[in-house]
C-alpha cells in the first residue's frame, strides 16, 4: 500500500533533481547533516496539499517551532525556493519549487513561484499582535510582501500530457495581513498529511480534540499498552477540567493519581504526539523527522511495532528520517515479515545535485543483519 509511488523534487530548498523511486509504505531517509532529509519531508508535505497556503506558510516556518523572535515570512518563504544551481557572486536568483510524482497512477506536479511586491499596510499605525511583526509604518506607506503562485497539474498515467488539468491559486502575503484561503475555490487536498518535527512534543500543546479522537477511535487500550512501556503505572488517559472551563489531558497513574500529561517525560509526549498525528492522516501520509527523538532504544521496538501496525490499519504511508542505527535496526525488525513494504534512501548532495541511494527492505535487512554494515 503506497499512496505516493514515485517522487522527483526538481527544486526545493537544497534539493535539486532528487528522484525517489519505488517508494514503499514505510520509507526511511538517512544521510549526513544537511543532506536534505528534512527538506524531503517538507517537500512531501507541500506536495500533498498543493494549493494550501497555510501549509505553505507553516512549512516555511516549521524548523523554528512556536518560538518568539521568528523571522518574518518575507524572509522565511524565499528560503524554501532553490537557489539557481550555478550562482555567480552577483546572481543568486531563486528558481521555482517544482515537485512531481506518481500518486495512485496519476501524475501530479506541484509548482510554486514567488515575486516580491509592495502593498499598502492595511494595519498601519495599529498595534500588531500574534504572528505579525511589530512595525511602525505610517498610514498609506508601502510595505514588502510576496506574491505566491501555487500550481497543481494532474495527468493520467505515465504519459505526462494525457488529460492534463491545471489548477492555480495566487496569494499576496506579508507578516501584516491575514492569510486567507479563498473558500469558494478550495479544493480537497491530494492526500491528508501530518509532519511531526523533533520538537513538536515540547512546543506544541497536546490537543484535547486529538486525544479525544484517540480515545474514541477504539485505540485507547492499544495506546495504553504502548504507554506502559514508558511508565508501567499509567492506567488510563482522561480529559479533565480542574477549573471547570478548560479541558486538559491527564494520565490516570497508579502512584500519582491523575497527573497532567504535560508533566511526564519526553518519550511519552513524543509517542502521543506521533499517535495524534497518525489519527489525523488516515489514508494519507505521515512524516516524522528524526524518528528516534526522545525514545529510549529499549522502547523503540515497542513504539515502532505499534506505529507500523497502526499505519497498516489506517492505510498511512510513512516517511521518516533518522540518524540512528538502532532505529534502522528496529524498523527492520518490526517489518521483518513485510520487508517488501520497506524502502530506505541514503541522501547526499554532490556538486549541487541531490542523490538518493535506494535500499529495498530485503537488501537493507541483509546489509545490516548479515554484513553488519552501516548504511547511514
Amino acid at each position: 500500500m503506497s499512496h505516493i509511488d514515485e517522487l522527483t523534487v526538481r527544486g526545493f530548498r537544497n534539493l535539486h533533481n532528487l528522484t525517489l523511486k519505488n517508494l514503499g509504505q514505510f520509507n526511511l531517509f538517512v544521510g549526513t547533516n544537511n543532506s536534505g532529509k528534512t527538506s524531503v519531508l517538507e517537500a512531501i508535505s507541500l506536495y500533498c496539499q498543493p494549493l494550501d497556503i497555510h501549509k505553505f506558510v507553516s512549512v516555511s516556518r516549521g524548523r523554528e517551532g512556536n518560538t518568539s523572535g521568528r523571522i518574518p515570512l518575507v524572509v522565511s518563504i524565499p528560503w524554501m525556493f532553490p537557489t539557481s544551481s550555478t550562482p555567480s557572486s552577483e546572481d543568486t536568483s531563486k528558481e521555482r519549487i517544482d515537485i512531481c510524482g506518481l500518486v495512485k497512477e496519476t501524475n501530479i506536479r506541484y509548482i510554486a513561484q514567488f515575486s516580491e511586491v509592495e502593498i499598502i499596510d492595511p494595519l498601519a499605525g495599529e498595534s500588531h499582535r500574534g504572528n505579525r511583526v511589530s512595525i511602525q509604518s505610517a498610514p498609506g506607506e508601502a510595505i514588502k510582501a510576496l506574491k505566491i503562485t501555487l500550481e497543481y497539474e494532474e495527468s493520467l498515467g505515465r504519459l505526462s500530457d494525457l488529460g492534463l488539468t491545471t489548477t492555480a491559486e495566487e496569494f499576496v502575503i506579508s507578516d501584516y495581513i491575514k492569510i486567507t484561503q479563498p473558500a469558494k475555490k478550495r479544493i480537497p487536498s491530494l492526500l491528508s498529511v501530518q509532519l511531526v518535527t523533533p520538537i513538536d512534543h515540547r512546543t506544541m500543546p497536546l490537543s484535547v480534540r486529538l486525544l479525544s479522537n484517540i480515545i474514541s477511535s477504539g485505540d485507547k487500550s492499544k495506546m495504553l499498552h504502548l504507554l506502559k512501556n514508558f511508565d508501567r503505572n499509567i492506567k488510563g488517559i482522561e480529559i479533565l477540567s480542574p477549573d471547570g472551563r478548560n479541558p486538559i489531558p491527564y494520565f490516570n497513574h497508579d502512584k500519582l493519581g491523575f497527573a497532567p500529561i504535560s508533566v511526564f517525560g519526553d518519550g511519552l509526549r513524543r509517542t502521543i504526539t506521533i499517535a495524534a498525528a497518525l489519527m489525523q492522516c488516515r489514508n494519507g501520509v505521515l512524516l516524522i523527522d528524526e524518528l528516534e527523538t526522545a525514545i529510549h532504544p529499549q522502547a523503540l521496538e515497542h513504539v515502532l511495532t505499534w506505529l507500523i501496525n497502526a499505519c497498516i490499519q489506517q492505510r498511512v504511508q510513512l516517511f521518516a528520517t533518522t540518524h540512528s542505527l538502532e532505529t534502522i535496526d528496529a524498523v527492520i525488525s518490526v517489518t521483518k515479515d513485510k520487508l517488501d513494504s520497506l524502502a530506505a534512501y541514503r541522501l547526499d548532495i554532490n556538486n549541487n545535485r541531490s542523490t538518493a541511494r535506494r535500499f529495498s527492505g530485503i537488501h537493507l535487512e541483509s546489509i545490516r543483519n548479515e554484513l553488519g554494515q552501516d548504511v547511514r
Binding site: 542505527l325 541511494r357 535500499f359 541483509s366 548479515e370 554484513l371 553488519g372 552501516d374 548504511v375
Partner: protein, 257 residues
C-alpha cells in the same frame, strides 16, 4: 587513490589473494582502523553478532594498500553467498568510485566456464537499485565496464580445469614443500574411506593442505601459514602456471606494472 573491491569465497582465498598483493606488488595490510581510507568505512561492521548468530565470523574485509590502489578483499563465507555479498556491498558503498571489481571462486567439480556462467546468473539476479551492469567475457578475463571500472571473475585453480584454491596450493607445496606434500598425500590417501564419505570434490586437496599447514604451523589455521610460509613466493610464481594466471589477472585488474 583508486579503490578495488574483491569478493572471495572464504578466508583462505582472502589470504592467498592478499599474499599475492603483498609478496609480488609491495602491498601493505591495513590493521589499524585509523589507517583505513574513509572510502571503506561503511564496510566495517557496526553491529554484532551477524544474523544474531554468536558463532559466526565478523564479516569484515581485509584491506591492503598499494602505491596507488586501495583494495578490500571480502570473504563471503561460502560460494552460495558470493553474489549476495558482492551486490549488497556494492550497493552500500560509492561503487561509482571503484576502479576494479572482481570475484574469486572455486570451480569445484565443474569446469571454470560452467562455474563462471552460473555465478554471472546469480550476480544478475541480485542486482537491483544499482545502475551498474557487470559483464566479463570469460573466466580470468578482465573486462572494462566503463572508462574507469574493470571487472573480472577468477575461477580457481586456473580458470580452466575443475578444482579449487587448494589445488593451486598443492601446486605451491609441490615446489616449496615437496617432501611434506608427498607425506601428506600418502597419509590422506591411506586414511580409512569411512572418514571421507562426507567429503566434497575438493575434500582431498583441502585435507592435504591442512596436513602440511599443521606441520608448518601446528595448531594454527591455514591462513597463518599462507601469510607467513612459502606457498605464495617468487619460487612458486616462477614455476606454477595457475599462480601466474592469478597474478596476471590481479595485475590487469588493478592496472599494475
Amino acid at each position: 587513490m583508486r579503490n578495488a573491491y574483491f569478493a572471495v569465497e572464504g578466508p583462505h582465498d582472502v589470504e592467498v589473494v592478499g599474499r599475492v598483493l603483498v609478496s609480488f606488488h609491495g602491498a601493505k595490510r591495513i590493521q589499524q582502523l585509523h589507517e583505513l581510507d574513509q572510502f571503506w568505512r561503511r564496510l566495517i561492521p557496526s553491529s554484532y553478532p551477524p544474523d544474531g548468530d554468536l558463532l559466526k565470523r565478523v564479516p569484515v574485509p581485509a584491506f591492503f594498500r598499494l602505491e596507488n590502489v586501495s583494495v578490500a578483499i571480502h570473504s563471503a563465507i561460502g560460494d552460495s553467498q558470493l553474489a549476495r555479498t558482492l551486490v549488497r556491498t556494492l550497493q552500500n558503498i560509492d561503487y561509482e568510485e571503484l576502479s576494479a571489481i572482481a570475484i574469486f571462486c572455486d570451480a569445484d567439480a565443474n569446469t571454470a566456464s560452467e562455474r563462471y556462467s552460473s555465478l554471472m546468473l546469480q550476480v544478475k539476479s541480485e542486482f537491483s537499485d544499482i545502475n551498474l551492469t557487470l559483464e566479463a567475457t570469460a573466466p580470468g578475463n578482465v573486462t572494462p565496464i566503463n572508462d574507469y571500472l574493470r571487472f573480472g571473475i577468477h575461477v580457481f585453480p586456473d580458470n580452466m580445469k575443475p578444482g579449487s584454491l587448494e589445488t593451486l596450493l598443492m601446486g605451491c607445496a609441490d615446489i616449496s614443500y615437496p617432501g611434506l606434500l608427498t607425506g601428506a598425500r600418502k597419509y590422506v590417501d591411506n586414511v580409512c574411506s569411512s572418514y571421507k564419505t562426507a567429503w566434497s570434490s575438493s575434500g582431498r586437496p583441502k585435507a592435504i593442505v591442512g596436513c602440511i599447514n599443521n606441520i608448518l604451523r601446528p595448531g594454527t589455521a591455514n591462513q597463518v601459514s599462507i601469510q607467513h610460509d612459502q606457498w605464495i613466493c617468487p619460487a612458486t610464481l616462477a614455476t606454477l602456471s595457475s599462480l601466474q594466471r592469478l597474478n596476471t589477472f590481479i595485475m590487469e585488474l588493478l592496472d599494475l606494472p
